[in-house]
Symmetry: C2
Subunit: 500 residues, 2 copies
């Protein structure tokens, strides 16, 4: 491995050469990189098309055990470093997808390896506790040091969970419990509630609902899936709940040219939200909570204005619905702020904020009122994993020490500007470049071209993901620097030139 790693000085000089010698149009990406990642590679290095022969062999082997239809290729995680993912055939790709946005500070970050080499940490890995009944003695300190240090405004409470779906499922439960307790006031549950709940019937299992948005994605377990509306493949054949689904604004780009139209579109969606809340109340299925992503990710990187979120927040308040901001994909710094909802600049942005992916553990922050009134109402065996909290604490240290949120803002600006230039250059191919921080996306003319571009980029050493019908989403790690932006833009530009 050491032989393929280069020193920082060498990298910068190579980068300059690469800049000058790389083929294709060079209208994009004029800035020189200022920073490099110490433990990173110098650039992509491709030995085969992807998947290569070794990956194909492994896919055949795994295919006897699991459905491998979604497997891109097999990875060599020992050799992967920083922004580069190395596959089983020795291909090294610049990774702008990072395991569906879940690798916060790149592969094999030295800080995380150092943590593993500390013998004091080993028992945390070896003895996974049932956190809800027998937490480790260092748990209050560890959770204060890690999760609470990034608690969203107005929230001092957090519940960890094992994954994003469990986080949202339990956040929904917290909202249902809160809503029913609010309805009951001081009186406890009736005998009828206590008996009917055991057989899945109302009033014990009440007909409450969660309002979600078309295009939203909140997970794939049955509760979450009732609020997920991004792709047919997620939902077909799975029983669901009759819960209200509001339209999410479909903004027209460039935003500055469609100010009036977009404002109208957002107003239309908000009006629909209020109508649905009223309608579902009349149907006897009151809306206990509204769940929304700050940027719809899986559904196509759909953005809405601060004004939209601010008004939506007010609607939730007005109708007594809890407001749940799902930051599973947007959280952890990729938008340039730790939470995407911080961009709204609101004093009281949410009642509940769920997370997972880059946070390494799942869970949700919540206001005091959203804490279940009794033990064992929000509960399972593991309730998270303290070994993930250990990693998270170190990830947060790295983010602070290396000012990664500022870096993300800087790289994100370079990336978005690059995408703007590319779409100006290839108007038939590209449109709707958009983003916040490095959480960017661009639309391709159609899904087939998008899919082909993704594969071609992969063969050229850039690993990207799609989202929505025909978008490419950018989900690099927080250590993705301007240098890497330009590397990507050059390769992408060459590809686009071939499509012209």
């Amino acid at each position: 491995m050491a032989t393929s790693l280069i020193s920082r000085q060498l990298a910068l000089s190579l980068q300059k050469n690469l800049w000058l010698s790389a083929p294709g149009c060079r209208h994009v990406s004029k800035a020189a990189a200022k920073t490099q990642v110490e433990f990173d590679y110098d650039g992509p290095s491709m030995k085969t098309t992807v998947p290569g022969p070794r990956s194909q062999e492994l896919a055949k082997q795994l295919g006897d055990i699991q459905n491998v239809g979604a497997v891109h290729f097999f990875c060599n995680y020992e050799e992967s470093r920083g922004n580069y993912l190395v596959d089983a055939d020795g291909n090294r790709m610049l990774d702008l997808y990072t395991q569906i946005s879940s690798i916060p500070i790149g592969y094999n970050h030295p800080a995380l390896h150092k943590l593993m080499s500390n013998p004091n940490n080993l028992t945390t890995f070896v003895n996974r506790p049932a956190l809800g009944i027998l937490p480790p003695d260092n748990f209050p300190d560890k959770i204060t040091e890690s999760l609470l240090s990034v608690a969203p405004i107005g929230m001092t409470r957090v519940q960890t969970m094992a994954c994003g779906s469990c986080s949202n499922e339990n956040a929904f439960k917290a909202m249902f419990i809160w809503y029913r307790n609010k309805e009951r006031g001081v009186s406890g549950p009736s005998d009828e509630e206590l008996t009917s709940c055991m057989i899945n019937q109302a009033p014990g299992c009440p007909d409450l609902s969660i309002l979600s948005f078309m295009g939203g994605f909140h997970g794939r377990t049955l509760g979450c899936l009732a609020t997920t509306h991004s792709k047919i493949i997620h939902k077909l054949d799975v029983p669901s709940f009759d819960w209200p689904i509001a339209p999410f604004p479909k903004l027209q780009y460039p935003l500055e040219e469609f100010t009036r139209e977009n404002a109208q579109e957002e107003a239309r969606c908000l009006e629909e939200v209020e109508d649905l809340i009223v309608k579902w109340r009349q149907k006897g299925k009151p809306v206990a909570g509204i769940v929304i992503e700050p940027i719809q990710a899986e559904g196509g990187d759909n953005h809405a204005s601060v004004d939209f979120f601010s008004k939506l927040r007010n609607i939730a308040r007005k109708h007594g619905c809890a407001f749940h901001v799902d930051e599973v994909q947007t959280g952890g710094g990729c938008t340039g702020k730790f939470w995407a909802h911080e961009h709204w600049g609101m004093d009281d942005p949410a009642d509940i904020v769920s997370f997972s992916k880059k946070l390494l553990t799942g869970g949700y922050f919540h206001k005091d009122a959203l804490q279940a009134d009794k033990a064992y109402r929000i509960f399972n065996t593991w309730m998270g994993d303290p070994s993930k909290n250990l990693f998270l604490a170190e990830v947060l240290n790295v983010i602070r020490r290396e000012n990664l949120l500022e870096e993300v803002t800087r790289s994100g600006k370079a990336l978005l500007n690059g995408l703007y230039e590319l779409q100006a250059q290839y108007p038939g191919l590209l449109s709707r470049a958009r983003g916040q921080g490095t959480f960017c996306a661009i639309d391709i003319c159609d899904d087939k071209t998008r899919d082909r571009l993704l594969l071609q980029a992969r063969d050229k050493g850039v690993f990207l993901g799609g989202c929505g019908d025909r978008s490419i989403r950018f989900r690099p790690a927080l250590i993705f620097k301007e240098y890497h932006v330009h590397l990507f833009l050059n390769i992408f530009n060459d590809l686009l030139a071939q499509h012209k």
Copy 2:
């Protein structure tokens, strides 16, 4: 720590002394222990009542962050060893609950520490992949070496998940998808299905159901919770599905005295299962699958006969329902076989078997037919965690090397015999001793006495869990030997003597 650990020789001699000098009646537990666990402590050691002052202080601290109503005490996992859990106040308890049955080979097993000290394993912890799209190159081998080596009969396929609830949620989805594909035959989904599923409506989100049993526990996310019927606290205020719930046999003990009554009771339950399947089909909510635990755990350690399970399996087959055996709590060796359903001795015991807890990773095995026909239908970001598979492979090595299933059978026999003797001695207090392997339980006269006994046992250095209304459940690790059985029985006997 080293000072409080003793050599095997010393332990055995101390054990002998303890045996002779311990107070209380000695009718129970006449056998001498033959084996000791190398890295274990010699016995409980109590310094304070539990929770002690340090635990109370920590509970106050954590109480500002989470609901701590379910927290028993805080633990020192560094100092915990083998069958002994050490708390934050230095109390060392014989652990017969093992983190809700989720610590397979005791605390800080040297084999797991050795695994952590192998530098080749570190990247597996540091880089958690999105297993469904970018598995590590060693994944097919690792999963073959670990999970597939214990695959239930008739199953060569396994899907890992992060926890028990996600395992069951996805097993349910696999059954729904299988059921609908079976109904469709060769034709694909209709346009109406494709559009209606996006808005949670039939036919795309069909009105299918899962039949479950009263007293069953399958998790607490919304889909799982619709099949969970063990305690009100789990279910109250959470919307649910109108799915059929069959009675689980309520057997009378001792079994040999109630052969006829119990056979009648099981026949009644089976009849009800068939009635419900027919009734729900007529309601337009056909039963796609039946989910059942081989021993209802959370619901009170309720057993049924092999004949019952065999007939139930046939009913599922007859009505075209998938048969899902939930081994989340029973799996992993605690019944003396790796899977509890192996005790049924059936050639075709299940279509799908879910697991978690002692397996360290969640997931489910399934027959080929239950594999989703397309990629991304059963999917999420992490789909398990390869670092847990690493541990599992090592746990399975230890189980084989140390013949732990035989040990469990031996200890289980000693435990159950001890419980039989105790209930003969305290007929007003104890009844219905039952179990398989060390997966044992006994009923206490009422819930208050049960709860008091649990606390008193804790203060005497034995940590136990309850289940059902008034049962105590025994869930020791697989390294729980006859020696530990006798230690427990002596302490428990002394407690009971005080209750006489």
